[in-house]
Symmetry: C2
Subunit: 237 residues, 2 copies
């Protein structure tokens, strides 16, 4: 005899009528997000309104609970993929998530996941990289973005900068006790970086291209196979 919703994707269900297993899992995501993965099984059980022994009965161990949380979070994000993951920057992605009321605890959980490392963080980062690469490629094709000598490296670089700075900001913002309004925090972040980011993206930082020229020349000399050179690239001054 199998349990009612075993194996189901219960994303559409509302708050109250969930499997106990699902309620424990969701409580764990919230508690882990708010207080970190060091939080004990008993705290999770209390938040879910069940006994400590039950969580191990459903998930085997604390690691099993953690894995179930990771899988569920990844599934939720992939479900919201159409709108959220098409955004180019990590800030845009997290903003999108934090604005939807139901997904708010996910942001805290994701920040914790990156702090703690693990597969979810790496997997999600690689996903952001390929999404960014596609977005940049589209922009180049449309003529709104400049082409790069190494599009893959540029996508990884921009994704790393965006996600890294966002996480750094959220960690620092979230470290002083009490629950955080992630939507508001990300909005503040966006406000603060909007101007300098656009300045950098449209005007650059250097007044001449000597640094870039040096690296391009050096690469053309040492490794002639991996990099595409199109030396007809337009100078910007």
């Amino acid at each position: 005899m199998r349990s009612a919703l075993e194996g189901h994707t219960d994303s559409g269900a509302r708050d109250r009528d969930l499997t106990t297993r699902a309620r424990v899992r969701d409580a764990a995501i919230t508690v882990f997000g708010e207080q970190g993965f060091g939080t004990g099984v008993r705290a999770v059980a209390a938040a879910a309104g069940v006994s400590p022994g039950l969580v191990n009965h459903h998930f085997g161990s604390k690691d099993g609970l953690r894995e179930a949380c990771d899988e569920h979070v990844l599934a939720l994000i992939r479900a919201a993929k159409t709108e959220a993951l098409t955004r180019p920057s990590a800030t845009g992605l997290l903003q999108q998530l934090a604005d939807v009321e139901e997904y708010a605890p996910l942001v805290a959980y994701l920040v914790r996941s990156y702090q703690a490392g693990g597969e979810l963080a790496q997997h999600l980062f690689e996903h952001i990289v390929v999404t960014t690469e596609q977005y940049l490629s589209d922009g180049v094709a449309a003529g709104t973005l400049r082409p790069s000598r190494d599009p893959a490296a540029r996508a990884r670089y921009l994704a790393m900068q965006s996600l890294g700075s966002t996480l750094l900001f959220l960690q620092m913002r979230g470290e002083r006790g009490g629950p955080v309004d992630w939507g508001r925090a990300i909005r503040e972040l966006t406000d603060g970086i909007m101007l300098p980011a656009l300045e950098l993206y449209t005007e650059g930082l250097f007044t001449d291209s000597t640094f870039l020229d040096a690296v391009v020349d050096q690469r053309a000399g040492t490794e002639g196979d991996t990099t595409h050179h199109y030396s007809d690239h337009r100078e910007n001054r």
Copy 2:
């Protein structure tokens, strides 16, 4: 009767002839850096070759030990300030630190500090921000860097991007067990981002300035006091 080196800045001393207190502190920095702040007092004591009770005799509690480590790390970085902290980017700073054999454990400890939050992380970040602002200001004065409509915001933005992406890279690189060669890791990071970073810094990303113009116009309309506008800023295409 006071102990021999109590209150001294023993930065110049070599490995063996240190106060026991200093040896425990250094062992703690290493162990915390390698295994995180969750590591027990007993492990630190074992690494220092002393009994668990002794560390609390010298530092009062584990929190006291942590504070002593933070203070010492901050002191070490400030001592190396002349060379290290004048670098504009966080990558440069950490590269500088990781290359000096003696400071290698510091990098791991710093990464852990940022993961865990706390005063050291915030304090160091603010220090990087003001250093970056000074560096950018010098570059603008020398004519090698473009001026910004909001130099403080640009400095904070660039510092956040640099430090954030570096930390993200190092966390992901360092999460698979065993000690990490931080110098090599940072060098790989530098290699990977060099080209796209210089591309972005000299040529920008957008082909026109419509996005930037929109934000600049909007800011000029809503808030006329905090931002300096010099509308004679040069367009780059």
